[in-house]
Amino acid sequence: MKKIVITLIPLALFFGLVTLLFLNMGYHNEHVPSPLIGKSVPSFELPLLYEDKTMTEQDFIGEPWLLNVWGSWCPNCLYEHPVVTDLAQSGKLKVVGLNWKDEFSDADNWLKRLGNPYDVILVDYVGNTAIDFGVYGAPESFLIDANGIIVHKIVGELTPENVANEILPKLAQLQ
């Protein structure tokens, strides 16, 4: 009997391995969780798309806001555009755009064609601020509280589901 316990070890390990592989098939995804959750917004000073001035992270202290990283070159930004518009128009929070790695004329045309949902649009065409935010693709959205702490991040497009299930509940917790 004792001997069987020893020879059972390979089978037990194998069983554990197969279980891991099986479970992983269910939740494997390519999204990278952000280490910035619960931390302050990285400091930045960025020009605006439509105004001749710059803004810093300090200018947004006081109310919760959503930073939405987008570019006119990004197909998924097109998909999420109606969702972003709905969210902005609901007036539940301030939606700020970060126009990333783009060109003014392209971005301007894009907004003219689809409508501009943003309260204000920051511009980062070199991409340094995006790196500070740990952005690795567009679209990405950061929910930030009144004190400038990043509460939540959504990689990929905003959908009615993740707005209802993630953004709005987190926002409600803040208030």
Binding site: S34, P35, L36, V126, G127, I131, G134, G137
Partner: protein, 129 residues
């Protein structure tokens, strides 16, 4: 970083002259090696498992520029890695940190080796009798 871009732009404009310059104007061989080491260790986040050095993705280029700037400004390896990890998490480096979560990763091979050695010697001894 501005100086490098400036130099680049100047070169691109003065097309009449024959030039061949390194993409990054490192001060010395140590810097060049540090840059290569870092870009091989850092992951291109938008790629399917490639490091920065091997990737042509836009984000990879931005990050490579960033790394090169740091290196040219005499930042050391740990600082640059910490910068990346702060923003992108441990996922960004192919060299996993040593902490409670990765203890098993780093040490279990040696535990396996040790246990195996004990079993091996024990078995040989036992059979000797």
């Amino acid at each position: 970083m501005n100086t490098r871009y400036l130099a680049l732009i100047l070169l691109l404009l003065s097309s009449s002259s024959l030039w061949a310059i390194e993409v990054y104007d490192f001060k010395n061989q140590q810097q060049r090696e540090l840059y290569q080491e870092l870009t091989q260790e850092l992951r291109c986040l938008v790629c399917q498992n490639q490091n920065l050095a091997d990737s042509d993705a836009d984000l990879a280029k931005d990050l490579k520029n960033q790394v090169a700037d740091f290196v040219m400004n005499n930042q050391d390896k740990d600082t640059i890695l910490a910068y990346m990890v702060q923003r992108y998490g441990d996922f960004v480096t192919y060299n996993p940190p040593l902490n409670a979560g990765t203890f098993f990763l780093w040490f279990s091979p040696f535990i396996v080796l040790l246990i195996g050695a004990v079993i091996l010697i024990f078995n040989i001894r036992k059979k000797k009798q």
